[in-house]
Structure formats: structure tokens, C-alpha cells
Subunit: 253 residues, 2 copies
């Protein structure tokens, strides 16, 4: 982060400024250029920086653009939602660097900075469903075969891991979540808690606590994070609202 | 978080104030009482609040103490390091509530607020090793049988998940990490990248990038987070330092 040209990959957190770390705020302030998906840039206070908004795809092109700007002398913040290291631009920028066989980005310092991820925000809204061993899986088969997704889900269920499911559904992928829930239901009982957290922490936030037996995959859209518990995951109904947690102890230990 | 008595479970992030969210800073400011492990409370600027420091164990007692204080009219922040929802006090406070069959904490509002976890900080320091599907596993067998730990590790390796291993070692648990690395080595090739991140982001930070075949379990202590990659995880040696990332695409996709 020292020197005059750099790429810093940062995350805004999944909602407003209350989850933006001071480190990231400082980097955004020092940047000359911001590169990212438009809605994420919109979360960042408008300032002196040049904005390079793009759509939600072509991560590698966006990464290359950021590295080019830095190689020309800019200080570039690549802005993800959530944590840039979790299904976001961190890996994309490093993949672009990795492919730079000509060394044209050799002099660009590249750093990644942690942020609050969508699964952490969604989990916290309802308590601590990720309170014991868990995994984070993307259900998108744009970059991996569907068979790999299904195999990972099955093994994670057999391992009794709580699952945070990213990219559960989109218009182009309407049936995948239903199939995944069916695979998990072959391993876990129908009472296993399931959470649909849509736009957690944002104005349109909608949280649903249901069960594996009753979960309706159609509740999920592109803004939804789905958390599937393990058999020990507990739901507490309180006057103040519903809480969900996965105990730190293993049943029978 | 409204009303006059509450328990808010928060996390400082794994190091200094640069990773403390504005939301958590605000809660700490509004609290009358802080409950937590001493070193975590030390990370929070000294203020008007009563401090209730404890050692690193007896999480349930600590949770009960916080709920008692709130039931008596206090505004209590339970302070974890990292994210309170990831192997921390979130689940402990909800477990205490769950056991409150007499309803003595019925009127206490309980909320959990996300923070930057140790694995995210450690990962970011080296790039994006958690950039694809991953899991977070605690190797402590204080609260679950060792056989469960080993079984989860084996299934996670078979699923090609990157693993963030919490509580890899302590004086009371000296052999567990070696055994876990041996289990993973039965599934993954010896070149698979392994990271030892000790005190990430703090003054004593020490980062080691090695391989499954060469990893020395004795490098880990209580402050260490171990990340074991999957076979596709890549290491980039740059003039500016080493970077590690796990590609978003699956080899062969």
C-alpha cells in the first residue's frame, strides 16, 4: 500500500457504512480510482475519485482494468460487496496477476483487505447459526461443473457442517437450490433449520426461518443467502423475535 | 438494541481498531458494561464502561453473567475477538438463553453483530486463499469428540474445500494438528499450499506459506490460524512478496 501505484481490493460489507471498516474507509479516501460493480460503488460516499463502474460479470476484465490503471500510476481500490476474499474480487485480481506472463503489472503492489461478508451479516441478524464448524459454498455452476457442486454439498452434509449457500438462485439458474436442498434432505432430518436471508442489513431485508422439510426454494433470489443448519442447530422463539444458533458442543460429547 | 437493558454480542476484529466496524464502535460507546476475555477488552478504548474481564474459558458462565447484568438494567456488550458468530461468544450467549427454563432473562433483548473474523484477516494478508468454496473447522476436542474432528476434516478434503483451521494447537493439545495434516495428506498431493498465520494484523504477526508435504505442525500455537488449500490453490511469488489464492473456477471446468 506504500508507493504511488497500487491496487487494493476492499469490501464495503453487505449493506451501509455501519459495516465498513476504518481500514477500508481510509483506502477509499486515498484512492484515485474506484473499480467495481455499480451498486457497490454506490455504497461508497461520492468523493474526488474517478469511478469505473461495471456490471456484475467479467470479473477478470475488471481486474485487468484495475491493474492497467495502477500500472499507469493510479491508486486503485477494487470494490466488492461483503468481504473481497469470499466469492468476490480478491481471487479475480490475483488470477489476473497470475496470467500476466509478460510482467506488465510487475511493479503494481496488490493487497487485499478483509470486510464483513454477507454470510456473517445474515447469520448475525438471527443470532449465531454459524457458531460451530461450517462451510461456504457457491451454487453457481458458471465456473465449476454442477456435479462438483452437488458432490460438495453431499459431503458437507455428511460432515454435519452448517452451510452458507451463496448464489442460490438467479433467472438463469432456477432449479439448482431445490436440487441442493433435496440432496441435504437425504442426509439430514426434515426438522433441520433453514434460513433465507434476503438483503440482510439493507432496507429491503427479509428473513425467513424454516426447515429442510418445508423450505420453498422459490423464496431465494439473487440477493438471498441461504443458511442450512445441521441437526443440532437450535431455534429459539422469543417475544423479541426468533433466534437461531448452532451449539459449540457436539450432541453426545 | 432499543430499550434500556440489552446484551449485544460484538467482535473487535482480530487486531487493532482498523478492523472494528462503526456499528460495533457505537454499541461499545452506548454500553454501560463490557464483558469478555481480558485481552479483547484491552483492544477497546478505555471509557466510562464497567469492565468485567474473565479468562478464555467458561464461556457459558460469562454469558450468564452478561445476561444477569442486563436483567438488572445494564446495557451489556459481550466482546469477542474476531467475529462473535464464528467460534466465539455468539453461540455461547444463545446457549445460555436456551437453557433459561425459568425465564429470568425473558426481558433481555439479545442481538449479535458481525465483525471481521481471524480467518478473513489471515487470508487477506496473503491474498485470497479462501476465494472459492471453503470451510471453517475448530480442531479443539473440548466440546466434540476427536473422531468427529477427524471425520469432518477427511470429508472436507474429499470435497476439495479449502480449510480454515481454528484452535490448531495448545499446550494441552500438541498432536492434533499433525494428525489432521496427515489425514488431509491421504487425500491431497504434498504440493497443496498450507498457510500458518500467527497473530495476523498484530505486532507479532508471522506468516508462513508452505506445503502439505513440508508443513511443520510445531509452527502453530494458540494465536495461529492454519489455512490448508485445495489442489487448485495457487502461490504467486512476486518481488513485493508471496500471494496465495484459490481460483473461482474449478480445474477442468
Amino acid at each position: 500500500m506504500s508507493g504511488d501505484c497500487w491496487v487494493a481490493v476492499v469490501g464495503t460489507g453487505p449493506a451501509g457504512p455501519e459495516w465498513l471498516t476504518p481500514e477500508t474507509a481510509d483506502i477509499l479516501e486515498r484512492a484515485t480510482d474506484l473499480v467495481g460493480y455499480g451498486p457497490y460503488l454506490d455504497r461508497v460516499a461520492a468523493g474526488h475519485q474517478r469511478r469505473h463502474a461495471s456490471d456484475n460479470r467479467q470479473e477478470l476484465d475488471r481486474a485487468g482494468h484495475a491493474l492497467d490503471l495502477a500500472a499507469e500510476g493510479s491508486r486503485v481500490a477494487v470494490v466488492s460487496g461483503g468481504d473481497p476474499g469470499v466469492f468476490a474480487m480478491g481471487a479475480a485480481v490475483l488470477e489476473a496477476l497470475d496470467r500476466d506472463t509478460e510482467g506488465r503489472w510487475r511493479n503494481v503492489a496488490v493487497t487485499v483487505h478483509p470486510g464483513v461478508s454477507a454470510m456473517q451479516a445474515a447469520a448475525a441478524r438471527l443470532g449465531a447459526p454459524l457458531g460451530a464448524d461450517f462451510c461456504a459454498l457457491s451454487l453457481s455452476d458458471n465456473l465449476k461443473p454442477w456435479a462438483v457442486v452437488e458432490r460438495r454439498v453431499r459431503l458437507a452434509a455428511e460432515a454435519d457442517l452448517v452451510m452458507a449457500l451463496y448464489n442460490p438462485a438467479s433467472r438463469a439458474r432456477p432449479w439448482q437450490l431445490g436440487r441442493v436442498l433435496a440432496v441435504i434432505a437425504e442426509v439430514h432430518p426434515p426438522e433441520t433449520p433453514v434460513i433465507f436471508a434476503t438483503a440482510a442489513g439493507r432496507e429491503q431485508e427479509h428473513l425467513t426461518v424454516t426447515t429442510l422439510g418445508e423450505a420453498d426454494p422459490a423464496r431465494a433470489d439473487m440477493r438471498t443467502l441461504v443458511i442450512v443448519g445441521m441437526p443440532g442447530t437450535r431455534v429459539l422463539e422469543r417475544e423479541q423475535g426468533t433466534l437461531v444458533y448452532t451449539p459449540r458442543y457436539y450432541e453426545g460429547a
